[in-house]
C-alpha cells in the first residue's frame, strides 16, 4: 500500500525515469540490430568470420557491466555524457544474442531452398533479401527479444554512472536503505521487461515460417 502511495505521489518522476529507461534500451537495441544483423550475416556466409565475430561478442558478454562502464569512460565523445556511455555499453551487451541468432537463423534455412534459389539465378543479394532473411526473421527476432529483456535489467545499472533510468530509484533506495524506493525502480523495470518479452514473443510467433 505504501508503495502504491509512493508511486502515485511521485508518478511524474516515475514516468520520467521510465522514459529515460526506454530511451537507453530502445536506442541501444536499435544500434545492436543495425550492427549485429550485418555481422551475423557476414559470419553465416563467410565461415572465417564466424569465430572472431562471435568470439568477440562472447568476450564482451563476460565483462562485468560496472567494469565495462569504467572502461568506456576515457573514450572520447562517448565518455562525455553518461547516456552515450550507457547506450554504448548496452549495445555491446545486446550484440551477442542478435549476432548469434542471425547466424543461427540463416544457417538454419533449408539448404535445398537456398540451392533452388541459387539454381534459379537469384543473385546473392536477392537470395539474402527474398529467401534467407525472411526465413530467418523469427529466429533473429527471438535474439532481439533476449537482448531487450537483458537490456532492461542492465540499464538499471546505468544509473550508477548518472545515465538516469529506473536504476535511479534503486540506487537511491539502496543508499537510503528504503525498500519502497528500490521497488519503485524494480517493479516498473520488471513490467517493462515482461511487456517487451510478451510483445516481441507475439511478433516472433506471427513471423515464424510454417
Amino acid at each position: 500500500m505504501n508503495l502504491l502511495h509512493f508511486l502515485s505521489q511521485n508518478h511524474q518522476q516515475v514516468l520520467e525515469l521510465t522514459g529515460e529507461h526506454l530511451w537507453l534500451v530502445g536506442s541501444s537495441t536499435l544500434l545492436a540490430v543495425l550492427v549485429g544483423i550485418p555481422l551475423g550475416i557476414v559470419s553465416a556466409h563467410w565461415p572465417v568470420w564466424n569465430r572472431p565475430v562471435l568470439g568477440t561478442a562472447n568476450v564482451i558478454q563476460t565483462i562485468p557491466s560496472l567494469a565495462l562502464f569504467g572502461f568506456l569512460l576515457p573514450v572520447p565523445w562517448i565518455g562525455e555524457r553518461a547516456d552515450r556511455l550507457a547506450i554504448l555499453a548496452l549495445t555491446l551487451y545486446a550484440l551477442l544474442p542478435v549476432i548469434r541468432n542471425t547466424y543461427t537463423g540463416i544457417r538454419g534455412v533449408d539448404p535445398a531452398v537456398v540451392e533452388a534459389g541459387r539454381g534459379m539465378g537469384l543473385t546473392d543479394g536477392q537470395l539474402l533479401f527474398h529467401v534467407e532473411l525472411p526465413l530467418a526473421l523469427s529466429v533473429i527476432l527471438s535474439g532481439v527479444r533476449v537482448a531487450v529483456v537483458v537490456s532492461v535489467g542492465l540499464a538499471t545499472i546505468a544509473a550508477a554512472i548518472g545515465a538516469g533510468g529506473l536504476g535511479e530509484f534503486i540506487f537511491r533506495g539502496l543508499a537510503m536503505v528504503n525498500n519502497q524506493l528500490i521497488l519503485a525502480g524494480a517493479i516498473p523495470a520488471a513490467i517493462l521487461a515482461l511487456a517487451a518479452d510478451f510483445s516481441l514473443g507475439w511478433l516472433e510467433r506471427r513471423l515464424r515460417p510454417r
Partner: protein, 260 residues
Amino acid sequence: MDTNSDGRPVIEFRDVAYVLPNGQPLLAGLTVQVQPGETLVLLGRSGSGKTTTLKLINRLLTPASGEVLVNGAHTADSDVIQLRRGIGYVIQEVGLFPHYTVEKNVGLVPRIKGWPAARVHQRVEELLLMVGLDLRIAQRYPHQLSGGQRQRVGVARALAADPAILLMDEPFGALDAITRDELQCEFLRLQQRLNKTVVFVTHDLREALRLASRIALMESGRLVTVLSPAEFLRSKDPLPAAYMRAFGAGLDSVANRGDS
C-alpha cells in the same frame, strides 16, 4: 521453340573433371553432348557423379579441368546469373520457398526479371494448368500441398521464364509409386509439347528407360556408355546387364521408343 536445329549440341562437356575442395575426385574425363530437344538421362548409383554433372551445367559447381559449354558458350566465361536464368532447375527436395504462396514461388523469376504483375499472374496460371494443377492452389503455401503437388509446382517454377534447358535431379525420387507414375506420364506429355533440352538424373532404370532419348550410364565418377533405351535393353555389357538384373522383368514394355 527450337532455335538450334543445326544439330549443334545445346550442352557439351569436354573432358571435364571435378574435384572436391578436399582433393577427392568426383568426376573425371567426362565428354558428352546433349542435343536440342532430347532428354538425356544420367543413370547411376549414389556417388556415381550424376548430380555433380548436373550442377556443372548451371555452374553451381565449377570444373577442376575441362570445359562445359551451354549453347556454344563456355559456362566459365558466362554471366552466371544469366546462365542460370536460362536453365530450369528441379531438385528432389523441390526447395519451394516456404514463406511464399505457390503463385509467388512460380512467379519469382519473372518478377525479378521485371515483368509487369499482370503478365506474371497470367504466366503463373498458364504454368499451373500446364503441369496439371488446379488454379485454386495458387494462394496456398507449400506446406499445405501434397508431395506430388509440390513437385508439380517445382516444375512449374523451373519453367517460369521459359528456359530452353531443364535440369532435373531425381525430381520424382521421393514420391510414392502412383504419383511418380503420374508425373512421369505428365513429363512425357509436357516434353512432347515443349520440346526442351532436358538432363535428368535418376538411379531408377525404369524411369530412365521410360523418359530418356538417350541414357548416359555413370559409375564411380566416369561415364561408362551412352545408349538409347532400346540399345540399353539389348546390351550385353556387364553394367547395363547388372542394372537389368537388378530391376527384373518387364522392362521391355516401359522403354521410350521415341514414338510417344
